[in-house]
Symmetry: C2
Subunit: 205 residues, 2 copies
DNA sequence: TTGACATGTGACAGGTTGTCGCCTAATATA
DNA sequence: TATATTAGGCGACAACCTGTCACATGTCAA
């Protein structure tokens, strides 16, 4: 987490640093990103940087978490709008994210995530784990739409959904947009209806 | 991939290098692992190392892929033994892997994977993607047990299963073994029966 | 004015990586 | 046997990186 000193900075300087960081993380994969280049581009002395962030990872996490917070808010709205339908909300979240990534301040996030697939969890999963996110969202989920058989099924399902969404978003950067979306729809379908063939005694019309 | 020069090496030297590498990757997370320490521990000069592998990543991938090949073979056997039941095979694969990790040459793999969760995909997914693995395994899967509605459903399902297995294996290193297994069973259950509540007109006994 | 404290600053020590020219040993050719 | 050719062993080196630390500077309260 950034130190309080960082938040006391003049906003202009703060944003300059973050912008330089985003640019660097877009340019090369995480491991190759260099604090050196970031501070140079931002015109911020070495010592100061380490006053704000403990290291590169701290900075990267901050970028991800800022955006993750936005996503969580949006997810809450989408759940409400869809009457608590978890699957519908996730699909709409995909559309929302794709839209936001196309332009504006968060345009770079998509590219960063694509260049750093291993970091996917950092975007969607709270430092405290997926549990934490789910707990804040739980009230908005309509459980009657789901067939949950144990206490933890919701958590497991949520995890599956998050992983799937993340994966789809990343592939959406390289394959055709609709193709990625179609894949998401298919996987959501599998998760809803199950992949095991149904007993013949229970066939749908 | 290691150069042919690497394979021409006397087996003793080759194994010394790989052992040193495993030890280093167990010691610290991937980013912190140092080629320096590996070659020092193995008593191999710098120039030689770069003759065998292009860099640290190349070496790491090699370790993972050696093991991945074993897993794929095992998976093929398990599919045959379970009459092509994909779900049963995955569950047994979990048990198998846990057993192997407890001792022997691959004891370290579990720890490495745990210290480097982001690398999970490298273990299970072929460089060519999950598709490649599935294609080699496809014939052994009994499709009649599955309810696949589009061409790509099997591939999507396979991806879900692999991701889930990897996640469970990693958590199994930290939480109680049976707990991790129980979680895998639950998730497999969700994937089989689906998470959407069934229409009342089609209730099981 | 003076002190106390937060913050800015860049030189520095200690580490890393990949390369490159040189040397050795083994094998093929005349 | 003498010589050419080639694969491989080797370690010094340049170029880079990171995190720290002693010192400079600014700011606010007494």
């Amino acid at each position: 987490m950034p130190s309080t000193t960082f938040y006391n900075l003049p906003p202009e300087k703060r944003e300059r640093l973050l912008a330089a960081a985003r640019a660097e993380f877009v340019r090369v994969p995480y491991e190759e990103a260099s604090v050196n280049r970031i501070i140079q581009a931002a015109g911020i002395p070495r010592g100061s940087f380490y006053m704000y962030f403990t290291d590169k990872e701290d900075l990267f996490r901050h970028l991800m978490e800022c955006y993750a917070r936005l996503l969580e808010e949006r997810m809450a709205q989408l759940l409400d709008r869809n009457g608590g339908d978890l699957f519908a909300a996730f699909l709409e979240l995909f559309d929302h994210i794709r839209g936001v990534w196309r332009q504006g301040e968060y345009r770079e996030i998509g590219q960063i995530l694509c260049r750093n697939r291993q970091m996917q969890p950092w975007l969607f999963l709270d430092r405290a784990g997926p549990e934490a996110v789910l707990n804040r969202l739980r009230d908005r989920v309509d459980l009657s739409r789901l067939d949950l058989q144990t206490e933890t099924d919701l958590s497991d399902l949520f995890h599956l959904l998050v992983t799937t969404l993340a994966g789809t978003l990343v592939t959406a950067q390289t394959v055709r947009e609709e193709e990625a979306r179609a894949r998401l729809v298919r996987v959501l379908g599998i998760l809803q209806r199950g992949a095991a063939s149904k007993a013949p005694s229970c066939e749908e019309a």
